[in-house]
Every structure is written in structure tokens, then in C-alpha cells.
């Protein structure tokens, strides 16, 4: 404590910007690294969309960017799979796990609970650097002999175990596994830190039921991560053994490249169980922070308390818990015991209940509000829409009897992009618009933000909605082209339309990129509390200082959602339509939404 009370000494550049242990700087590092990875993942999808929309047509841009992965401007079939694999991996893990949680947990946890910094600044710094190294290795794997990992982001063996099966399962897959192992270490270091910080470092008066929903969502996300990521690590290690040391955890009875392999007794199904034990919770690791962020934004911008604060927390806890016991819905048609399938159908459909509660609570928060549509608010509305649109199709996929026919088709690609991809992205972008003033001390331009939103939502639905129809026509995912089947002949138009929307989506993100860079450097200076928010981060200065508050950490007296609270005379209690958490309760005033 005492160290922080002295005026801060000048740090030299290296420790201020590179090996910083300050949560705000680490947050920025996560944000920028995450966005760079996200941009690469996005570009990949635009490239393989060209192949799907115009199969076999030659593009100089593909030749130019892909080099030996393409021939005469057409990407090679196995390299198509490499692109899809890397796209999925980067988007799910690097952008929407590390990028999203890393940025906002780091930024908001100390600021919103009233702490000087994370419990361990050092581990926090390590968490970022592990992430950075992991990103670099993942990118290097794009350039190695045989190409990057190509077995899908789910890397099911034997395909991922045998270089004879696909070239990308050589060095590319080794690097994928190394990168992911380091990534998991990063994620665990981060999550442990978040949990400990939230549980132990809350300022005076900040009880658990006065925490903003952002913090609750980060806490639950971190717990889910700590429980499930180690299992992926174990799965990956066993795969490394099978690949390099001749064990047979996942391999048995294989004849490939003209010879019978020695491996015997293992089962790829084991891998699937281990993978999805992380894989399913992972989608909530992506989703929950996005839900937390937008709950906060919707409440602030509607000038109303979030409706059903406790129900929101309970729902998130229920989702977090259930997410650990539904993984089998990815495996209905693997030949697993039908009874088990029935159990997984049951638990899966149960998740719809807390999810529905959250949606209704969002909507009720808007009712009779006084809503200001900042870009952050628009993206939050967008998230509610994608969460509904994508969540509902989950009822089809989660129902084992229906899944038989849509499993692994484009129906799935449409579903998970909308409910996880778009919701995650919308939540993350909403967070960036909302807390940009806290991160960079400057404001983003609203008009560009609005334009970005409109292009993004229109093109996103343009891309992913039609995919449901492809799926219902029977088109499998991870197909290099649909042109080999007479059955799919008349679906080319749909694919072409999707690709045009993908190009539009890409262009739309350039607006954001421009706005981001321009505003970070030259945007108008931010006021201390631009959105008139209640939570503690808005009581800190615009300029970042080590330790966050120059004097003592403020004490908290109320929950964070006292917006538009009136006294008996029908006037605002404090004369303004918001009461920050640091304002003591008035006489006879009830806390936590009591009237």
C-alpha cells in the first residue's frame, strides 16, 4: 500500500510499455494483440469465402497472399482446410478468449472493484507474454513445410496425428499443439489472477451483491476456464505422445499410406470427450464476458437499473454450471451409447432456460428507459439479437434426434457463428466503444461507429443466416467446394451471395480500424465520466496512474445500478439521473434496487 502513496517514479520505456505489470497497460497489450490476430483470422475467412463463392476461379490476391498454398490463383484443397483450421483457432481462442477476457478482465476488474491492481502483477504480465509467444508460434506455423494445422479447430485424431493423412499434420500440427499449450498456461495464469483478485481485493463496501455484472461474468468465466482448460492441455499432451512417442491413446486399427500402423487399443472417441469437455465450456468462455459487458452498457445507456440483477447472476451461474455437463451434444453420432445421448439432450436443452431469462431481462431493461444510442449501445442491441437468433437454432442442434441430420452441416456453421462468433464480437466491440475513453483517454468517433455497426450487422446476418439453408439442403461443413455433387448444384447462388456479404463485412471492419487508430492518437480528449456511469472506474482520472486512485481507494455504499432513482417528490435523488457507487445511501434509502 505505502509504495503507492509516493508520487510515481518515471519508469523507463521497457518497463512501462513492454514488461509492464500494470493491469491497464496489460489490458491494452491484450487488446492490440487480440485485434491483430482477429484481423488475420478475418482475412483468412474472406480468402476462403472467395473459393466457396467462386469455386475454382482464379484470384491474383490469393496467389499474392497464399504463395505456395495456391496454384494459378486457386487455393489447394488441403490448404483450404489449413485456412479454415487456423481461422477457427484464431477466432475462438486468440480473439475471443484471450483478446476479449484479457482486455476487459484486466481493465475492469481492478477499476470496478476498487483495487490498486491485480493480485499478482507479475503473473499477470506473464499471462500476457505467454499469450504473445503463443500467438507468434501460431503465426509461424503458417509458414512451415507442409503448411499449418489442417484438421479443423477440433483437431480430431487420427487426422491430426498422422502426417500421412494430411500434410498439415506434420510440423504445422506440432507447432499448433505447442502454441496451444502455452496459450492454456497464459489463460490459467490470467484466470487464477482474476478469481483471486475479485474474491480478495474488493474495496470497502463492495460486497458480492454490489459487483457490476461485468465482474460477475468475468469471475464465472475464469472459474469455467480454470476447470476446463487443463483438460484440453491433457488431451493435447496425450496427442503429442501419440504423434511423437508411439503411444496409442487415440489410435487403433489404422491402415494408411500402404501400411498398417503399430498403434492399437486407443480410441479417437476418448479425444473427442476430452476435447469437448473444454470445447463446450469454451463457447461460454467467449459468451459470458460479452453478456456481462453488454448488461452494463444496456443499463447505463438506458438510464435504468439492469432488470433482475440477481436473476442475471443466477442465470450466469446456472449457465456456467450446465456448460460443464453438456459436451456430449457434439458427439451424438459418434456411436456413443444412445442413453448417454438422451442425458446430454436433456442437460443441453436446460441451458435454454437461463439463457431465455437473460434475454427477457435485457428487453425489460429497455422498457420505459431513456435510451441513448451510442455505438456501444447499438452493438449491445445487436448482441441481444444475435444471442436470440443463434440461441434458438441451438434447440435444434441440441435435440439428438434432430442433430442426426444437421450435425456437421452448414446449419452448425450458421448457428455457432451467430450465437458465439457474432455475440462474442459484438460484445467485445461494444466494450471497446464504451471503455475506449478509459483505455486511451480519448473518444471514438460516433458517426464512424454507427456506420461500422450498420455495415457489420447487415453483413453478418447476410453471411450467416443463409448458411442455415445450405445446412438444411445437406451441405457438409469443411468442404473445399460443393461443385462435386449434382445434389448441391443449384446452391451456388447462395454461396456467392454469402461471399459478397463477407467482403462487405471485411470492408466494414476497416472503418473501425481507421476510427480506432485515428482516435487513439488524435481523437477528442475524454471527460472523466462520458456516459454518466455509476461504477467505480469512472471515479478514476482520465490519465492512467499506477495504483488507479491518487489518494485513498473510495468506499462503496450502493449497487452500481441506481439510474433514474426518484425520491418521494418524483425528483432525482441527487439532482442527476445517476448515483455513483461512492455516494452514501440517504436516510431510509434501500440498496440494491429496493425502492
Amino acid at each position: 500500500m505505502s509504495a503507492h502513496q509516493h508520487p510515481h517514479e518515471e519508469q523507463d520505456f521497457l518497463f512501462k510499455y513492454v514488461f509492464s505489470q500494470d493491469h491497464k497497460m496489460i489490458s491494452k497489450q491484450f487488446l492490440i494483440t487480440g485485434f491483430i490476430m482477429g484481423f488475420i483470422g478475418l482475412s483468412m475467412s474472406t480468402l476462403f469465402r472467395l473459393q466457396l463463392g467462386f469455386p475454382g476461379e482464379s484470384f491474383w490476391i490469393i496467389d499474392f497472399l497464399l504463395g505456395s498454398w495456391a496454384e494459378n490463383g486457386v487455393m489447394l484443397p488441403d490448404k483450404y482446410l489449413a485456412l479454415v483450421t487456423m481461422h477457427g483457432t484464431i477466432m475462438v481462442f486468440f480473439l475471443l478468449t484471450a483478446g476479449l477476457s484479457g482486455t476487459f478482465s484486466n481493465l475492469l476488474i481492478p477499476l470496478q472493484i476498487g483495487a490498486r491492481d491485480m493480485a499478482s502483477g507479475f503473473l499477470n504480465m506473464l499471462s500476457y507474454w505467454f499469450f504473445f509467444v503463443s500467438s507468434v508460434i501460431m503465426l509461424i506455423s503458417l509458414g512451415v513445410e507442409g503448411g499449418a494445422a489442417s484438421a479443423g479447430w477440433t483437431i480430431y485424431p487420427p487426422l491430426s496425428a498422422l502426417p500421412q493423412a494430411i500434410p498439415g499434420s506434420g510440423l504445422g500440427m506440432t507447432l499448433w499443439l505447442v502454441a496451444m499449450a502455452i496459450f492454456i498456461a497464459s489463460s490459467l495464469l490470467g484466470s487464477l489472477n482474476y478469481i483471486v483478485t475479485i474474491l480478495n481485493l474488493r474495496t470497502k463496501g463492495m460486497t458480492m451483491t454490489r459487483l457490476p455484472l461485468t465482474i460477475w461474468s468475468f469471475l464465472i468465466t475464469a472459474i469455467v476456464g480454470v476447470i476446463s482448460f487443463p483438460v484440453l492441455l491433457a488431451a493435447a499432451l496425450l496427442l503429442v505422445f501419440d504423434r511423437s512417442f508411439g503411444t496409442s491413446f487415440y489410435l487403433s486399427d489404422i491402415y494408411i499410406g500402404g501400411q498398417v500402423l503399430e498403434h492399437s487399443g486407443g480410441s479417437p472417441i476418448l479425444f473427442e470427450h476430452l476435447f469437448w469437455f473444454l470445447g463446450h465450456p469454451e463457447v461460454y468462455i467467449v459468451l459470458l464476458p460479452a453478456l456481462g459487458i453488454t448488461s452494463e452498457i444496456v443499463s447505463t445507456m438506458s438510464r435504468k437499473p439492469i432488470f433482475g440483477y440477481r436473476a442475471m447472476i443466477t442465470s450466469m451461474l446456472a449457465i456456467g454450471f450446465l456448460s460443464a455437463i453438456v459436451w456430449g451434444h457434439h458427439m451424438f453420432v459418434t456411436g456413443m451409447n444412445p442413453f448417454l445421448g438422451a442425458v446430454f439432450t436433456f442437460t443441453t436443452l436446460l441451458i435454454a432456460i437461463p439463457s431465455a431469462v437473460k434475454v427477457f431481462n435485457y428487453i425489460t431493461t429497455l422498457w420505459k428507459g431513456n435510451i441513448k444510442f451510442s455505438p456501444a449501445m447499438l452493438f449491445s442491441i445487436g448482441l441481444v439479437s444475435t444471442f436470440i437468433s443463434g440461441g434458438l437454432t441451438g434447440l435444434i442442434l441440441g435435440d439428438s434426434a434432430l442433430d442426426i441430420n444437421v450435425h456437421d452441416t452448414y446449419f452448425v456453421v450458421g448457428h455457432f457463428h451467430i450465437v458465439m462468433g457474432l455475440s462474442g464480437i459484438f460484445g467485445m466491440i461494444a466494450g471497446v466503444y464504451h471503455w475506449f475513453p478509459k483505455i486511451f483517454g480519448r473518444m471514438l468517433n460516433n458517426n464512424l461507429g454507427n456506420a461500422h455497426f450498420w455495415i457489420t450487422i447487415v453483413s453478418s446476418y447476410g453471411i450467416f443466416f443463409p448458411m442455415h439453408f445450405l445446412g438444411l439442403a445437406g451441405v457438409p461443413r469443411r468442404y473445399y467446394t460443393n461443385s462435386e455433387f449434382p445434389l448441391f448444384e443449384n446452391l451456388l447462388d447462395i454461396n456467392t451471395l454469402i461471399t459478397w456479404f463477407a467482403i462487405l463485412a471485411f470492408a466494414g471492419q476497416l472503418i473501425f480500424f481507421f476510427n480506432f487508430v485515428y482516435s487513439a492518437l488524435r481523437g477528442p480528449k475524454a471527460p472523466q465520466n462520458p456516459w454518466k456511469g455509476n461504477s467505480l472506474e469512472w471515479t478514476t482520472g482520465v490519465k492512467h496512474i499506477h495504483g488507479n486512485w491518487p489518494g485513498e481507494i473510495p468506499t462503496v455504499h450502493r449497487w452500481p445500478y441506481d439510474y433514474s432513482k426518484l425520491n418521494e417528490n418524483g425528483d432525482y435523488v441527487t439532482g442527476e439521473d445517476f448515483i455513483p457507487q461512492i455516494v452514501p445511501l440517504g436516510e431510509g434509502e434501500l440498496d440494491g434496487g429496493g425502492h
Binding site: W60, Y156, P158, I166, D253, I254, Y255, I256, V260, S267, P268, I269, I306, F307, Y309, R310, A311, T334, G335, T345, L349, I353, F360, I363, L366, N370, I371, K372, F373, L378, I381, I388, S389, D399, S400, A401, L402, I404, H407, D408, M443, N445, N447, L448, A451, V458, Y461, G462, F469, A473, G474, R478, F485, L491, F506, A507, L510, P524, S564, Y572
Partner: protein
Amino acid sequence: MIALVAIVAVLLVIATAVQILKIAELRATESGKEIYEISAKQSKAQAFLLMVFLVAYFGFFAWQVWKWGGLMLPVSASEHGVGVDELMNITLWFIIPVFIITHIFLFWFSYKYSFSETRKALFFSHSNKLEMFWTIIPSVALTVLILVGLSNWNKIMTPISSETEHVLLEVCGQQFMWGARYAGKDGKLGRASVEYIEGVNALGIDVSDENSKDDKIVKGEFHLPVGVPVQFVFRSQDVLHSAYMPHFRAQMNCVPGLKTQFNFTPTITTAEMKEKTQNENFEYILLCNKICGAAHYNMQMNIVVESKEDYEKWLAEQKEFGAE
């Protein structure tokens, strides 16, 4: 050409962005307000766009159904598939109204309660009654879905009892083709394992096993008799594949080292389906639906469903494994 259009589009977008930025800055200096402040008018404009979007979104949905509805898979050609399609319809009849109603509320409230200087928002933090209400409603609906779903699932997954007359057919996946083997007269598939793969014996069948002698291996297509249950057994020789027969609402993974199974009863012959779909070239198809390598996108086998007599005639023409 497409690349050129795309690049021009991207450049235009950026140019527009710069212009928007400049205009916004000019406007702000004129009005004396901070550039980032959002006026009631600006808020209303976005709220209005949200309403436009809502209509456009529904319109897009309807347009897709109208335009592409006819391209979806035709009626189910298997017995259990009819139940699956029914369940799908029940689910859709639940999902689509929920989708529409929640979206209307979401966007209508956004529009209606857009910012105004004079209005005060309502401090409304929770209501046990409301929350109870919308916990119970989805619970009830889901219970129904789960019950109908699982009764279907259990029916589908019950293996055919050995007494019922049925066809026993093994489908084996390998990079990048399918092999199929009928059990033959004895109704039993001979032992098979990767160890026995050699030359023409591509499915790895154990020659010494008595049961293999009358097995029949077929290439390119396999035939099924209409109205007779088919018990499929699936194998893979190398990596995971998935045998997907969309017209029959049937799918099962092929796992190296493990035999998996699925059964269905075809109900519509290929010829009848040609008529129903008004497509001369219609064929039932088996395709691979689990990423399995570079040519995963092209791993297919035709399925012909025909009358029992035709089927038996065709099968009789196929060579027995032990015949050489």
C-alpha cells in the same frame, strides 16, 4: 474482376469514413457541443434505423424461405425420417414465433424509448412475478420438446432385432472413398481388420473366416430394397469419416478401431423420388461428413432404392467374396 470490384469497394468505404469524420468535426465546432455528445435527434435517427433493420431482417428471412425453400432436402425417404421431420416442424413452430416476438419487443422498445431531454426513465429493478413467469414458460415448452425429441431418439437408435427380416450392410470409409459389403446368404459379415488389407482385398476381409465367403463387396453404388429395414455397420480404415445419407435423415461416424451402427427403413424408391422432385437426375447419396483430409469434399457413393425384386436381381449379379 471480382477482386477489382472488391478493392474499389474497400477504397470507397475508407474514403467515406474519412468524409464522415470530417463532417462530424465541422458540425461539432459549429454547434459548440462536444463532438462525442449524442443528441436526442441523433439517438432518434439510430432508433429509426433499428426499426428499418427489424423490417429488413424479417423481410430477408421471408425472402430466403421463398427463394430457397424449394432447394431444401425433399421429404424424408426413410420411416424414422418422417418422425424427425415432424419434430423439426414442431421445433420450428416454436422457434420462429419466439424469434419474431422477442425481436419485435427488442426493437420496438429501442425505438419507442429513445432518448428525450424531458422524459425520465422508470426505476424498475426487478419483479418476482415477471421473472417467475418467464422462467416457467420456457421450462414448459422445453419439457415438451425434450419429451418428443427423446421418444424419437430412442426409437431411431434401437437396433433391429435379429428376428425381423433385414439387410445387413457394412460401410467402410477410407481416404477418400467408400466401400460397401453385404452380409450374403448367411446374414453374417465375415471378420475384417486392417491387417488383412492387401491388393484387391481393400476392405481387409479375413479370407479364412467362413462367414466371409458369401459376403458381397460392391463399388460405386449400393442398392436397398424399399420397405425392408437396413442394419448398417460402419468402419473406417484410417481416419474418422462420417457416413451421411441426408435423404434418409441418417448419419453415423466411422471410427477406426470401433464398429458403429445405425438402421433405417427406406420408404421411397429412387424412381419415385425422381418423380416427386421432378428431377430426372435425382440420386440418393452417401457422402462424408467428417473432415478426413484433402479430398474430404469429394467422397461419395450413390444409393439406389428399388423394389425388392429388382434389388434381389441386382444382388444376385454381384460376386461373392469367396468366388475367386
